[in-house]
Symmetry: C2
Subunit: 129 residues, 2 copies
């Protein structure tokens, strides 16, 4: 047993985690204000998810204040790695190049993005050599 394997977040959980990763610790109200712009969900809905995620251990609650403050406890990197790895395995038999190919085919990508990816490749190459 070597890694604590963060449970795979459901779609809605991921949306919420994303907000917490980006904004840092936030109250239910803050999360709700942001997420409701893109997803139809009520205040208590967000709260419910935060509670579930608290039980699962993917977020932590600080109840010092009246309005409880939640923060992401699940590691951003590890979670994202797992999500991509899972899809890569299930849809592309583990082939990274196939994954990249379809990722680029799906949307227009700026020159900066492409250059950035090249840098990532260089760095990865140097590391693993």
């Amino acid at each position: 047993m070597k890694n604590e394997s963060p449970p795979k977040p459901t779609p809605t959980e991921l949306s919420i985690l994303g907000i917490l990763w980006e904004r840092g610790p936030s109250t239910v109200r803050e999360v709700h204000e942001i997420i409701s712009k893109t997803k139809p969900i009520g205040y208590t809905g967000v709260l419910k998810f935060l509670q579930i995620m608290t039980v699962k251990g993917s977020v932590r609650r600080n109840s010092d204040q009246r309005a409880h403050v939640y923060e992401a406890f699940q590691q951003e990197d590890k979670t994202k790695r797992q999500l991509v790895g899972d899809l890569m395995q299930r849809a592309f038999s583990g082939s990274a190049s196939e994954l990249v190919m379809h990722a680029l085919a799906g949307k227009r990508t700026s020159q900066e993005e492409i250059d950035e990816i090249r840098r990532i490749l260089d760095a990865h190459e140097r590391k693993s050599t």
Copy 2:
């Protein structure tokens, strides 16, 4: 309305589609033999999925033979593109470079894979200029 938007396959459906994409038209028995090596599922379970997918339109059935032959009807490229695009949007705010970074971080990648990705980048660059 321009694209027929292939419905997003569920995890198990994707496993089956993958087999059909790779092997071509197959019978229930053949699919079951392959998938049961990695996933605990019975014969009728596979059949059930094939039936559901037939209704959804992602596979087609040929009942000329006694053992019906199923073939993938859903486009491989389009489906994969959608899956990656969806994850990229939900987990990485649409950033292709972040996606690639975490994909590579998740597993060891051979030199050939990396070179292949570079080729893909080159091709994509040329096309979009």
